[in-house]
Symmetry: C2
Subunit: 289 residues, 2 copies
């Protein structure tokens, strides 16, 4: 595995790879890898000649009350895991190279962001699409990989790529789960034993909601109520939201007549967990974008 820090070296390397017609798969990350990340890399490995993974904790996507400095980092462990998975190039640029001057070009997004987790993170997705635009120009991938666990991010990236005609295919990778269904997350370690058992109900509740649609229920309010009741009854978690929106536009709907996302966020004592299912109006899971 090659580790590249400088943007210039990366451009040079990509230029070489392009000349020999290599298909490049790209997994942009903020590092501190867990199984969700390596799953994306493995998927990229299957689809492409070359897998590039970037590690960049992007200051631009942290709000004033969010802790950029405290974001967990473990570069040495990340290097080992990336190498194990077969990543070809690990790109770790410096913040001062990514943002060398006062910026005058700004990217903004006017939809898909004022709901779900984006609601409480103003400016977050502007930071995300700015850094991704830069990384996409440097790495010039054929395909990029994002987890469906962060479905809002996937919806935002989808708009970015489509509207600006990036010549890049977006691959949404299904959430990987523990044996009891809990979505894998680095936050799961902050659950105590009791919470950890209860947390499996988040996924079970989502499946119940989906089953209602399979059975013909098209009223989102009824589904949200059912999912919420299950979580309230089966866990000590505090619901942040349980919501249904059209997907990927993330607009409110009054009837399930199109692809939707059923998403939730639940606070436990030391961890806020998120999960979601995306399915069509017949309740069939959509496992790609």
């Amino acid at each position: 595995m090659e580790i590249i820090h400088s943007i210039e070296d990366m451009l040079e390397k990509i230029n070489q790879l392009k000349k020999s017609n290599k298909q490049i798969g790209f997994v942009p990350t903020m590092g501190f890898f867990h199984d969700g990340h390596t799953n994306l890399m493995e998927k990229a490995k299957k689809d492409n000649d070359i897998v590039v993974t970037s590690i960049f904790v992007n200051p631009l996507q942290f709000g004033p009350n969010e802790d950029y400095e405290q974001y967990p980092r473990d570069e040495e462990k990340d290097k080992l895991r990336a190498e194990e998975v077969g990543v070809d190039i690990l790109f770790i640029p410096d913040a001062k190279d990514m943002y060398p001057n006062k910026r005058i070009i700004e990217l903004s997004i006017k939809g898909r962001i004022d709901v779900l987790c984006g609601k409480s993170r103003p400016g977050h997705f502007e930071g995300v699409i700015t850094v991704l635009t830069k990384l996409f120009h440097i790495v010039q991938p054929n395909k990029v990989y994002f987890g469906m666990k962060d479905a809002q991010q996937l919806a935002v990236v989808s708009a970015l790529l489509n509207e600006l005609n990036f010549p890049i295919e977006l691959v949404g990778v299904p959430t990987i789960r523990e044996r009891d269904g809990l979505a894998k997350s680095s936050r799961n370690v902050h659950l105590n034993n009791e919470e950890r058992e209860e947390a499996a109900w988040l996924y079970k509740a989502l499946l119940q909601g989906q089953q209602l649609v399979v059975d013909g229920e098209l009223n989102p309010d009824i589904i949200v109520k059912e999912v919420s009741d299950t979580i309230i009854n089966q866990t000590n978690g505090v619901i942040d939201y349980v919501e249904i929106f059209s997907y990927p536009k993330l607009q409110p709907i009054t009837v399930i007549d199109q692809p939707v996302i059923l998403a939730l966020a639940v606070h436990f004592q030391h961890a806020r967990l998120i999960d979601n299912l995306i399915f069509d109006k017949r309740g069939q899971l959509i496992n790609h974008l």
Copy 2:
């Protein structure tokens, strides 16, 4: 010469060219070609394997009081001239394909635009950088060509490419001129005979200003005064602006201690003409970016 209208066909074509490692030069235009345009195409022809020219009258860069519908168009004549010059691919997308939906991703620019011609065209350069970002993603050129006559546009494109790490080289092509020095422009035909003769003084006045710097004058006010006086004394034109800014940042300066642009805009009866010179602190012309 191949003429391509659909974005999808263009992506397919570029994909093929990339696979055979062709170097692509790109000249984005709004059509209605004059010598300034064909000069860019000729330059691109010399530097690259393949020249792509686009014709797209971009609705996004016209203000509410600017006439998008009345912008001059002559596609048939443009095709002949492009073919003559040796353009390989003429890309003429439809507005409804370039902007199919309500847009939610927006590009904006916070500097270099509130001076010179940009001052009176709010929103113009946002439209320019948005369409260029889209075109750059579709055409994926190695080099792009812009005339130095529109030096503000060049400065804006330079910021766009640098800040967002586009893997594209920007080539600024020196203004081509009539034998008496008047910058070539499709607007020159709107000058009457007397005005046409007077108009040569615009360039002469710029050269006078430059000569002052060569002679050691570093005070921009004195240079602006000299250039303005010449235009007032030698023409019946009405000055819109004569200004000096740092280049390419386009910031006000009190002393010429860095590369600068000396730019002017002058109204004649039926034509507003612009011109500029870019030179360093010793008055040496800068003919590239």
